[in-house]
């Protein structure tokens, strides 16, 4: 896993896939990954971005993001919504 990732968590798999559809349309670099256990006990999927493009948040504005975290290779840090 590359350093300096950003993880986006969603409430439902439907929202994950809505977000993925937008990422694809924007040709954003992303990967769908299992939700990291230390972020949530949820059994679903999260979106990992290789960096934190601010405009992605704008494009996802119609989707409720449950949590946004940065990852430096060792630790997760909650970011502002």
């Amino acid at each position: 896993m590359p350093k300096n990732s950003v993880f986006l968590l969603f409430h439902t798999i439907h929202d994950v896939l809505r977000a993925e559809k937008i990422m694809k349309e924007r040709s954003a670099a992303y990967e769908l990954v299992p939700v990291p256990r230390n972020l949530s006990s949820d059994c679903g999927m999260a979106i990992r971005l290789d960096d934190d493009p601010k405009d992605i948040g704008h494009y996802l504005s119609g989707i409720q993001i449950a949590g946004r975290f940065s990852f430096d290779g060792a630790n997760y840090k909650r970011l502002d919504p």
Binding site: H11, I13, D42
Partner: protein
């Protein structure tokens, strides 16, 4: 073999239905949204795509509000049992299927709701002006059969808002989806309930409802959703709030195949083909001495689905159905789970035969069917 029971379920299905179903069962097979692995994700993607396409198909945008169910009956139960509370009043019509009448009766006897069934014409049409005098201060919803499974009558809802204001409109579109354009905005519908296995060409076991933004239903079922797993409280988020337990992913995959087929053929082509079959069927049946056809005429603009109820004078529907079945011609006989509709058209309790061609019915099939009816009528 001539299958004329497409109003019960469409048969045969297009190859896309089988291709999507087979691909899911053979190559994917995962439980959608339940795990982090590829097969679970691929299963979720199929449901997502089906949800998005179906939402667009009914002219709506917020696909999370499209809820998959087991069938049209479950969709209607979700809408009625999830919406209605003690002292609520509901208006319905005398053309409804038991999937509306029975939940309403259940709610009347157990939850203290009341309902008024507005009488339709003998052809099965509702006059929207007849809704006005039965509106009450506590009328929560009007539930209407968009297309009759008995006479094929399609209700025009133009002007309904002028009559009922912002009272909720629940539409039972089980028969109309895929047979006529169904656009929730144009129809002013608030909740649309339908099945997938009729003219949307899924296999059996799939239905759906769309719940417009601002309407909250109490779920019928509670349980695992793959989301918010740390909590014992059922999630509030859609679609998970109304969908729990492992869904019928193979069935939903087949529905995606059906929608793909419809998009490829073009809905307008399908509609026109079915109307041509309806006209041919009517012409043939009306040419047989002793055959009584119910509906499919009347004053003013009238729309009908390719569903034709008929009887042969002096014969029971079951006798005629038996004779047709011996000739490998399959129609439905009886009351079609719609006793009030048969009371409305004057065929209760005997019922009728019902011939419902589908997109794949051939003209030759209808010729053979009509000649068989002619032969049986002469006996």
């Amino acid at each position: 073999m001539i299958y004329l029971d497409n109003a019960a379920t469409s048969f045969p299905k297009p190859s896309e239905t089988l291709d999507y179903l087979t691909n899911f069962v053979t190559n994917i097979g995962g439980n959608p949204g339940r795990s982090g692995h590829t097969l679970s994700l691929e299963a979720a993607r199929i449901i997502f795509e089906a949800r998005e396409k179906l939402t667009a198909f009914i002219g709506m945008r917020e696909s999370e509000r499209l809820i998959f169910t087991q069938n049209g009956t479950e969709s209607l139960n979700m809408a009625l049992l999830g919406l209605l509370k003690e002292n609520d009043h509901v208006i319905t019509t005398t053309m409804e299927h038991n999937s509306v009448m029975r939940p309403l009766e259940f709610l009347r006897s157990t939850r203290g709701i009341s309902y008024t069934a507005v009488t339709c014409s003998r052809e099965g049409f509702l006059d929207l002006d007849d809704l006005r005098p039965v509106m009450k201060g506590n009328t929560r919803a009007v539930i209407i059969n968009h297309g009759s499974n008995v006479t094929g009558a399609v209700q025009s809802l133009e002007g309904i808002r002028e009559v009922i204001g912002d009272t909720l409109v629940i539409l039972d579109a089980c028969q109309t989806m895929g047979s006529v354009p169904v656009d929730m905005e144009e129809l002013k519908a608030d909740i649309l309930c339908f099945s997938g296995h009729k003219s949307l060409f899924s296999v059996q076991g799939v239905g759906a409802l769309y719940v417009r933004l601002g309407i909250s239903l109490t779920p019928l079922k509670f349980g695992g959703t793959g989301s918010k797993s740390e909590s014992v409280e059922h999630p509030l988020f859609l679609p998970d709030r109304y969908e729990c337990g492992t869904p019928n992913t193979p069935g939903i995959a087949s529905l995606l195949g059906g929608l793909t087929f419809i998009a490829r053929e073009g809905l307008s082509v399908i509609v026109e083909r079915k109307q041509a079959l309806r006209r041919k069927l009517l012409e043939g049946l009306r040419s047989v001495d002793g055959v009584i056809v119910y509906g499919h005429e009347g004053k003013g603009p009238r729309a009908y689905l390719p569903i034709v109820a008929f009887n042969i004078e002096g014969k029971l529907p079951s006798e005629v159905g038996y004779e047709l079945n011996k000739r490998s011609i399959f129609v439905r006989v009886g009351l079609h789970c719609s006793p009030v509709a048969h009371q409305t058209i004057g065929t209760f309790p005997k019922g009728t035969l019902r011939a419902s061609p589908g997109y794949f019915t051939g003209e030759d099939d209808l010729n053979t069917f009509v000649e068989a009816v002619r032969e049986i009528a002469k006996k």
